[in-house]
Amino acid sequence: MILGCVALVSAVSFVCVPQGTQAARPGTIRGRVELRRPTSPMERRPGVADLGSPAPRDVPNLLRSVVYLESAPRGAFETEEGGHAIMDQRNETFVPHVLAITTGTTVDFPNSDRFYHNVFSLSKTRRFDLGRYAAGGSRAVRFDRPGIARVFCDIHSHMNAFILVFSHPFFGVTDDDGRYHIDDVPPGTYNVIAWHEGTSSDPKAASVPDGGIAELDFTIR
């Protein structure tokens, strides 16, 4: 339900912004996302059948959230062809743990570990399985539908990541302090949503002045 809402709203909603002003300058929405209850990383399954101790692994960065416009300006969907993004597999962790892209973007999945990984997703947004490949190898997937793809490794069940696919460019990923900014937003009033690890905030209205900045903070959980 929550996962699907990104796909729905970003695919069909748009907002009419004032077109009469000849010199309407885009603005910025910025603010901070506060995480009330930090999310714990997915643990390895207890390796009861293992003969040895599991090797140390990196812990994914779970501090990042994504903030996006629920309703995008008219014309926002006429975006140019998406580019490339990278989701690395490093020390049994997807890096970054959260990737936000626009439709048409191709994501490369290099393997930086010396052992096999097998990236796959059974999400409706993009269903794929890249098979097993070793260090130095890479496979790519193009994302053409908006929505959220939950990505896993078929060999290491604790490896997981999110790819949020938007049909407009008005989104931002927070830094480790929770700060975000969405630039080049045409002046107008928008509903804005913050998303973190599968949980979305209630929409909040933001009025972007001509060439100005709208401040908007969120609290999740």
Binding site: R44, P46, F120
Partner: protein
């Protein structure tokens, strides 16, 4: 006992479900910042009837008509110690402690691990991936599941006694030792783990790793309390020259016959002489969407020689299994396994024949992931047995639903 077991199982499931916001969990339950981690596997299997007892296990159930619940947990106490355990219920009739051991990692800088308690099997490859989510098919390799006519506590007096029981390992008894009907033993039990101490070491990049263990039982008959005066010694080496290729070799030797049966056969003090010795080799190769596995096991048992016609020892069994899996599409795969279990000839009064009836099994199936941790498998088996009074040819079809977190 049954009511208590069912309640305990349901309690475990209810507990883990409640922790995860009243929905079925999709990932291990972590408590205390990862100090305690709980996971589970639940599988339900329905299959056609098995009048030939090809899929009967040493847990006294058919592997193709089975409801299995596993709950595993690890309690981490710093960088050096962890306690791991697993309880299992089959068909909800008894809750068994499948594993419970202390894992010690003496040096964090070196990949050396010592495990004490009811530990995972050192020998072979399949025994550590018997979980339904790890097994691409529904059936098990014959070496790990098929019950031979041998028992550690009940012994044939002559070769004729043993030859009369060919193909009857599912329910068996002989004239020496325990006279109650019980099941025989497989080459390697995948359904019970042994008790003892185990040490594992690996090179820094895990290209080579090795494990040695000293335990109470044997491969065929893992035990919590030893039934004779000898220990089993087992070892395994793995070589991983490139990603995707694993070459393994294993060996194990330990007294097989129980002290009581040995004493009934040849008198006190000889129980260490009647051993099970096994050698195994396995290869796993995977690349892209393909996974191939090969495993062969040779097992020899030495039984007491009591009367003529004598049982020529050792009694030998050889199993060979080839398994493959190929992913056709995201969440969809096909798999197949070809398996043979053979036995060396034994000379009786009037006949010479393999001491147990050779068995061949071909199994093919598909697996479909309804969601990441919910897998539906359907497979078809074709079993043949060359001898014995029971049905010798048996096609079987089964479906299995696997949920894990």
């Amino acid at each position: 006992m049954k009511v208590w077991s069912v309640a305990a199982c349901l309690g475990c499931l209810a507990f883990v479900c409640r922790v995860d916001a009243q929905t079925l969990p999709s990932e291990p339950i972590s408590i205390g910042g990862g100090r305690v981690v709980v996971s589970g596997d639940v599988s339900g299997t329905i299959g056609t009837a098995d009048p030939g007892f090809f899929n009967f296990t040493d847990y006294d159930h058919s592997a193709l008509r089975l409801m299995r619940v596993d709950v595993s947990a690890t309690v981490n106490a710093g960088d050096h110690f962890a306690v791991l355990g697993e309880v299992r219920a089959e068909n909800l009739d008894e809750l068994s402690p499948y594993a419970l051991f202390l894992r010690v990692k003496p040096w964090t800088a070196h990949d050396i691990t010592i495990q004490l308690g009811r530990v995972p099997p050192t020998f072979g490859a399949f025994a550590r991936r018997t979980y339904p989510a790890d097994n691409p098919l529904i059936g098990y390799p014959l070496a790990y599941q098929y019950l031979t006519s041998l028992r550690p506590d009940s012994l044939p007096a002559t070769a004729d006694d043993l030859l009369r029981r060919r193909g009857l390992g599912w329910l068996d008894r002989f004239t020496i030792g325990n006279q109650t009907f019980e099941h025989g033993v497989p080459l390697v039990s995948a359904f019970h783990w042994d008790t003892g101490v185990q040490m594992h070491a690996a090179t820094e990049n895990n290209i080579v790793n090795g494990t040695v263990a000293v335990t109470a039982g044997t491969l065929s008959n893992p035990l919590f309390h030893d039934d004779n005066n000898g220990l089993q010694y087992a070892a395994r080496m793995e070589f991983r020259p490139v990603a995707g290729l694993i070459l393994g070799a294993s060996g194990a030797r330990g007294p097989f016959v129980s002290a009581g049966a040995a004493a009934a056969a040849v008198g006190e003090g000889h129980d260490r002489e009647f051993t099970q010795t096994a050698w195994g080799a396995d290869v796993e190769y995977s690349r892209h969407y393909m996974l191939l596995r090969f495993e062969t096991i040779v097992s020899e048992w030495r039984l007491p020689v009591v009367s003529e016609p004598a049982i020529a020892v050792p009694l030998r069994a050889v199993s060979t299994s080839v398994e493959g899996r190929y992913k056709l599409a995201p969440g969809l795969y096909v798999a197949a396994r070809l398996d043979h279990l053979g036995f060396n000839d034994l000379h009786g009064t009037t006949t010479t024949a393999p001491w147990d009836a050779p068995v061949t099994r071909a199994e093919a199936g598909i697996g479909f992931s309804i969601q990441r941790n919910l897998l539906l498998k359907v497979s078809h088996q074709y079993n043949t047995r060359d001898g014995g009074p029971l049905k010798r040819v048996e096609p079987q079809t089964a479906a299995q639903l696997v949920f894990w977190f």
